[in-house]
């Protein structure tokens, strides 16, 4: 037991060496046509993964066993910390979250190694080789700048505890899911690099890449949604998205990943957009790396910036330059070989997907600009500036509204030929129903404030209805319903639900900060909130107070809320736990402020319509992605492409 940290450290060193071999054999084997080198890739990959998992298990064991002689454990745990948070504390700060990243990469790599047994050996060797390079870089980074196994001499008597903000079930799960998504884009990246090294990219390539990309995208979606939900109930502000740099860092790869999924569909179905798909694969993973750089180097002002160590920042920046620069150089050299020259008409599905890609890339670019502008301005000495919601909301909406409108129409376009007229009637019919729904919602249900809300409700409802047209048509005509279609339908419907719920939250939220004395009531959004005083609370590693707030509507009591103010013993920091009652169609949110004197307390009260559907929609999107990823087409895709272009089910995407 005593030696576990040293064992973990040693396992990391071995993992680094084996990842180096994996990278070398994977890249050099096919390049020099050495059969035996290629055969060595799988053992090296497996060995590296086993070592990585061993190291991770050692760190977990040190946390679970309260080994405060390990500096990282002493900094992020405490003898009073419950078991679940001792495990979550493993990735609660910089060093451990890097190790988590590496473990997840090992997991993806092993999955690819299994899946790749169907691929030609030289190609799978290259894919694993590229993943080996990524793994090598991160292992080197960890060992050189961020070793979690360093001993503390003398050992600490007790640990200085996990940041109380992170002591929460959703945030315990958020990093693993988010990272699984981030790291998953490494697979699409590796496929892209391997294809460029081969100098050959056909439709089979796209079919291999699609399920991996869909899976990574689904994980990223859930990860982002979980972080957003956590921010809602834990930070005490009551919003679900703050355009915080760290949120943006995860959102940019998501946007590009979404573009990539759609571009891959075109490459798979029609053999078009080849070099564009490659470029998106590179960008999606580069943005995942950039996300790591932004969060881990501590250059940005944010909740999540654990570290402020310039050496780490420079290492990641160098790694980023080598990976991205290398990939783009390879792209510049190889992409012209991969020209695709089949044509398509203006109202064909290809051109709708082209617009989808352009709009998503524009959206990602505006987020990118807003996120990096403070950094650039600061570096160039142009002053310290900050970019907030006032910039992001309008600039993000600008490409998104046309994107959603085009999605409703584009789903019904045929490949290659532009004959929308065949689906004209259901499109117009669903559009009219959506308009009626939007009018009813704005003027009937919510009562007023049309404008943007009307347009967004219309677009959201249209997207929901329009994505159901094709599945219903298939049911009626008793056609097959491949999982790709089910997944696509679900994800597009979810996007519609998302648009509707975001519109409702943004337009019809009522919120008030109030000062109340015991027994006093305030009315917010048609609900009466009565403050019934303050009670003491005692937790395992904190104590504090909670307020008792009775909520009623029209004299009928609905719920008792207990918004908390916790003071964690070790760090003496105060945390808010909001009290939330979910009614059908809206959330009642109360956060406890502070003692204002004179027997009064401050409360932040919000009534937010449909906010739960924001996260529900994200989960449905991810579910759609994972159902599509499990389509039979991808599992049976083998050997070279001999299928005629555009054959088979005309409208699978």
């Amino acid at each position: 037991m005593e030696m576990l940290p040293e064992l973990g450290h040693f396992a990391l060193v071995l993992a680094l060496l084996l990842a180096g071999l994996q990278a070398f054999f994977g890249i050099a084997g096919p390049a020099f046509g050495r059969q035996r080198w290629m055969s060595a890739v799988i053992p090296a990959t497996a060995g590296s993964a086993v070592m990585v998992v061993t190291a991770f298990a050692c760190l977990v064991a040190s946390f679970v066993g309260f080994d405060f002689s390990v500096a990282y454990v002493a900094q992020n745990s405490n003898s009073a910390l419950p078991l679940i948070y001792r495990i979550a504390a493993v990735w609660g700060a910089h060093e451990g979250s890097l190790l988590l990243w590496i473990v997840l990469l090992a997991g993806w790599t092993i999955a690819v190694a299994f899946g790749a047994s169907r691929l030609p050996q030289h190609f799978s060797a290259r894919v694993l080789g590229v993943l080996g390079i990524v793994s090598f870089g991160f292992l080197l980074f960890t060992l050189a700048t961020s070793n979690p196994f360093l001993r503390l001499i003398p050992a600490a008597v007790d640990g200085s505890d996990l940041n109380p903000l992170l002591q929460d079930p959703a945030l315990a799960l958020h990093p693993p899911l988010l990272y699984t998504g981030y790291v998953g884009f490494a697979v699409a990246f590796a496929f892209a690099i391997a294809a460029m090294l081969e100098g050959k990219l056909d439709q089979t390539w796209a079919r291999w890449t699609r399920p991996w990309t869909l899976a990574a995208w689904a994980f990223l979606t859930v990860g982002i949604a979980l972080g957003s939900w956590w921010a809602y109930y834990e930070l005490g502000w009551g919003g679900y998205w703050f355009w915080d740099p760290v949120e943006n860092a995860s959102f940019m790869p998501w946007l590009i990943g979404t573009a990539l999924i759609h571009s891959l569909a075109v490459t798979d179905k029609r053999g078009l957009f080849k070099s564009w798909t490659l470029l998106l694969s590179i960008i999606a993973f580069s943005l995942s790396l950039l996300g790591t750089f932004l969060v881990r180097s501590g250059v940005l002002v944010s909740v999540h910036s654990f570290a402020a160590d310039p050496a780490r920042g420079i290492f990641i920046l160098a790694f980023l330059v080598i990976m991205v620069g290398g990939a783009l150089a390879l792209y510049a050299w190889r992409a012209p070989l991969l020209k695709s020259d089949a044509g398509f008409e203006l109202t064909s599905r290809e051109s709708f997907l082209l617009f989808n890609n352009i709009l998503l890339v524009i959206a990602a670019a505006t987020v990118f600009g807003g996120t990096l502008a403070p950094l650039i301005s600061d570096t160039l000495g142009l002053g310290t500036l900050s970019v907030g919601t006032q910039y992001f909301n309008p600039t993000f909406l600008l490409p998104m509204l046309p994107l959603i409108a085009l999605a409703s129409v584009g789903m019904h376009a045929n490949w290659k030929r532009g004959r929308l007229a065949a689906r004209g009637r259901p499109l117009i019919a669903t559009g009219l129903i959506a308009l009626a729904v939007a009018l009813a919602a704005v003027f009937g249900y919510y009562g007023g404030r049309p404008g943007l809300a009307l347009a967004s409700f219309l677009l959201g409802a249209w997207l929901v209805l329009s994505s159901l047209v094709d599945p219903f048509d298939r049911l009626r005509r008793r056609l097959s319903m491949p999982r790709a279609i089910v997944g696509m339908t679900l994800a597009h419907m979810a996007l519609g639900v998302f648009v509707i719920s975001v519109t409702a939250v943004e337009t019809y939220t009522t919120e008030r900060d109030v000062a109340v004395a015991q027994g006093e009531s305030v009315e917010v959004g048609g609900y009466t909130f009565r403050f019934d005083g303050i009670d003491d609370i005692h937790g395992p590693n904190y104590d504090g107070v909670h307020a008792i707030v009775q909520v009623s509507r029209d004299g009928k009591p609905l719920a008792t809320l207990h918004p908390e103010k916790r003071r964690y013993f070790v760090q003496q920091s105060v945390m808010t736990e909001a009290g939330i009652e979910s009614q059908p169609g809206r959330d009642l949110f109360v956060a406890l402020g502070e003692d204002l004197g004179a027997g009064r307390w401050s409360l932040r009260i919000q009534v937010r319509p449909l906010i739960n559907y924001v996260w529900l929609a994200a989960l449905l999107m991810a579910l759609g992605g994972s159902i599509a990823a499990s389509d039979r087409r991808y599992r049976t895709a083998r050997a070279p492409a001999t299928e005629p272009v555009g054959a088979g089910q005309g409208s699978t995407a």
């Binding site: 910036s305 310290t384 910039y391 600008l398 109030v514 000062a515 920091s573």
Partner: protein, 147 residues
């Protein structure tokens, strides 16, 4: 239309769309970016008179005054050279405390009082907004707490 001309139109359309998006984005950017100023810069009159900006520094010890039972609060933000009085109405963040770093968003009035509509405090014991810690170091290289 020949395919060639159609493609030409498509490309022109895309370029026009991207250009419009770019112009609008820059416009939104110019109008909605907030700059950061410390109390010394405010004292020198470098901060804009009618635009929102971010004011950052330390909450001066003993400066927090609240009218009992009300959401209105006043405090002074200092960089140990100059200080700026701040008025705010609302719920303060959990980690707002005297002697700690703070960033306030708002406007400077003619009377020299900064009216904040948003107040952000540091997120944990060891963390200070980098801009605050840098501006404190700039005016007070020895004694300033580290970020």
């Amino acid at each position: 239309m020949t395919p060639r001309r159609r493609r030409l139109f498509l490309v022109i359309g895309i370029l026009a769309g991207v250009a419009i998006a770019g112009v609008l984005t820059l416009q939104a950017f110019r109008e909605n970016v907030m700059f950061f100023f410390d109390p010394s810069q405010v004292a020198k009159g470098e901060a804009p008179a009618h635009e929102r900006f971010r004011l950052g520094g330390m909450v001066e010890e003993g400066s927090v005054v609240r009218s009992p039972g009300s959401l209105q609060v006043q405090f002074t933000v200092t960089d140990f050279q100059q200080s700026v009085p701040v008025h705010y109405t609302g719920v303060l963040p959990d980690l707002f405390r005297e002697g700690q770093g703070v960033v306030a968003h708002g406007r400077l009035g003619g009377d020299g009082v900064f009216t904040a509509d948003e107040v952000l405090a540091k997120h944990d014991e060891n963390y200070m907004p980098p801009e605050v810690s840098r501006s404190l170091k700039a005016v007070h290289p020895e004694g300033a707490p580290q970020g």
